[in-house]
Amino acid sequence: MNKIDNITSVHVPDKFLITPMLVFFIIHSMQVGVGILGFESYISRYSGFDSWISILISGVFIHILLWMVYQSLQTGGGDIVAIHQQCFGKYVGGMLSIVLSVYFLLLALTVLRTFIEVIQVWMFPSLNLKIFSFVFLLLIYYLVVGGFRLVTGFCLISVILTIPLLLLKFFPIMVGNFNYLYPAIDHTILDLTRSTKDGILSFLGIELLLIFYPFIKNPQASKKWAHFAVFYTVLIYLATALTAFLYFSEEQLQYVTWGTISLWKIVEFPFIERFEYIGIALWMYVIVPNVCLALWGASRIPRRLFNINQKITVGLFCVALYILILLFDDRQRVEQLNVFANDVGFYVLLYIPVIFLLSKIMYEVRTRHER
């Protein structure tokens, strides 16, 4: 009994807590990252224009997983580190937690590297990778060291700042041809499932809740906000995908690497000819909190396990990210990294039901034992 209590009590001082509503912004900005910039061609590879269904499937899937996450955190108490230790013991549980930490680091790497790739392709082909990523990581280090509340604040800014970008969908919709987009569902469930799997990278992010759960002031009240966030994400993806399907022809989409950025190309204002430059610059506000959250999650786990000062782990991880970014130096490797992160993310999501079941069983056993 003592032993369990010892781990379960993840005590976070009151001044570090966040209000439940902010969970909406955290989950949403963790989900929306680089994925949305080019997921149209990924999901339509197998199921063409029917792949909007796969977005809905992913949405339902994520909603169920979110429910499972909340359930297991409630009964397991605390965060994923506590659950792991209860279920698997100190060593195996600790190992699994470290794997999760590495996974968050992988997410941070994927998002950051892919975004730098976007900048290289679209804006500055001769960008100095070393200097740019150094400055970028300095900023991220500064924000993450500032603490979870600071990162949360940044998430709020990022979500609000990027809402106007949605209005720009108006331009491609005006150009699009409605005659060619009819919902004749022509693909099998298998194709749709493959699309779902290929597009899952854009939906990753709810796993972070496994770590920041103790930071929510009133976790029960945050449930609905988390679900709202997922719902909002699905809506945005659906709107983005449908606009892309209107604007591009089915075969053309396969030749487009960054569908959403290409959509900004058609936007024209009297004072700006090429909107994609502003769009990409503004997207920085989406990428920064995204990377910060992932890095925070990755560094929080060692702190929970070994009680190391989080500043040190953040610094170490930043150095690791810097080296890794320099290793991925061409388009091919970035592509591979994306595919790899997508696959890993898919299995991490599949791991959530396992945790759910285990924590339920543990809870049952424990309460019976106590009785």
Binding site: N179, Y182, A184, D186, Y247
Partner: protein, 359 residues
């Protein structure tokens, strides 16, 4: 504290260390065109506006022409000839001559779709004759050839020309069961005119629709709000302006070959009529007769045009695409074999709403 301040200051000053490119120091390409010379060589021309002194208020244009064997070389050679670095970001019109177009412009499409600096709103055009002469021609003292040409195409899109730009062409170029079309331009003494539409099959031009028929293609493709057409009726020439139109497609599959039903509804008014006899004009049967005559004209013209497309195995209307999107199990090969046998029924429902303000 002091260290932080210092580092912020450093960042601010470091930001000024970048090379500055001012607009005057760059050659901004606004128009480019390519001509076919022989199998291995093409001739490329670019037009760069030279902004002179403020008082003169005229725009001069510098034209550079090079002959090369490949497109890659073209870029390098034209840079060699230019005294300032070229920027392609403001490219507005891209032209190909007819010989080149009928041999295919795949390579050009690849470059245009790949280069992030190129906008999607630029206009492509096919030139009847020599592209270089068209670009080098002087049309208007106050604007460049690119602006002039852009104005002509835009003005025509408002009237009888179906919507066209790089995006529309690429959409059709990549899509299955849809082919592209581009405006067909001609230099006439001191001006340029849109003398038709050139129809493509994939990346090669296969047919040209004359200027008087462009409205038919526009009607088949999109909503027309300002098209005008003059036809020969039993009693003289009558001109009509279309104020509103709508086209809907239906596919029915009975047996192996699908059948298409095209319903065009339109409204318009008569704006030109060479006829006397005021009494007969007031007569409602006269309007009915005109309505019928116009309907038959549009219907037969549309069917004729679709026949022309079938003969050339091209599909600018996108019948294949419509079929693919509405029916399951679309097979591209089967469709391409079937295409020449496909039945297309055009049905025009026309209403004349007015005869102008004089009797």
């Amino acid at each position: 504290m002091r260290g932080k301040l210092l580092s912020v200051l450093c960042l601010i000053f470091a930001a000024g260390c970048n090379n500055i490119d001012s607009v005057e120091d760059r050659a901004i390409v606004q128009i480019s065109g390519y001509d076919y010379i022989d199998e291995n060589r093409i001739k490329g021309t670019v037009g760069i506006p030279q902004y002179g002194e403020e008082s003169a208020r005229t725009v001069e244009e510098l034209n550079l022409t090079v002959e090369t064997e490949s497109l890659k070389e073209f870029d390098i050679q034209i840079q060699n000839e230019s005294s300032k670095p070229l920027s392609m970001g403001k490219l507005e019109v891209n032209l190909y001559n007819e010989d080149l177009a009928s041999r295919g412009i795949t390579e050009f499409m690849d470059i245009l779709s790949r280069d992030p600096r190129i906008g999607r709103n630029i206009y492509l055009g096919i030139v009847d004759g020599d592209t270089q002469k068209l670009i080098e021609g002087e049309y208007n003292q106050n604007e460049t050839t690119a602006k002039y040409l852009k104005g002509i195409i835009e003005n025509n899109i408002d009237q009888n020309l179906p919507k066209t730009n790089l995006h529309y062409f690429l959409y059709a170029y990549y899509a299955d069961g849809l082919d592209g079309y581009l405006p067909y331009l001609k230099k006439k003494n001191s001006h340029i005119e849109v003398s038709g539409i050139s129809i493509f099959k994939e990346a090669s031009q296969v047919a040209v629709i004359p200027a008087e028929d462009t409205l038919i293609l526009k009607l088949l493709k999109e909503k027309v709000e300002k098209g005008s057409q003059t036809i020969q009726t039993e009693d003289g020439r009558v001109g009509m302006e279309i104020t509103d139109s709508n086209t809907s497609y239906q596919v029915k599959k009975t047996g192996d070959v699908p059948r298409f039903f095209v319903n065009i509804t339109m409204k318009g008014f008569i704006n030109e009529m060479k006829e006397t006899g005021v009494e007969s004009q007031k007569n409602p049967t006269r309007i009915n007769k005109l309505e019928e005559e116009f309907s038959t004209y549009y219907q037969s013209k549309a069917e004729e045009m679709i026949e022309l497309f079938k003969d050339n195995e091209t599909d600018p209307i996108g019948l294949g695409n419509i079929y693919k999107n509405r029916m399951r199990n679309f097979d591209k090969q089967v469709w391409e074999e079937q295409y020449s046998e496909v039945l297309v029924e055009v049905n025009v429902d026309l209403k004349i709403t007015g005869m102008g303000i004089s009797l």
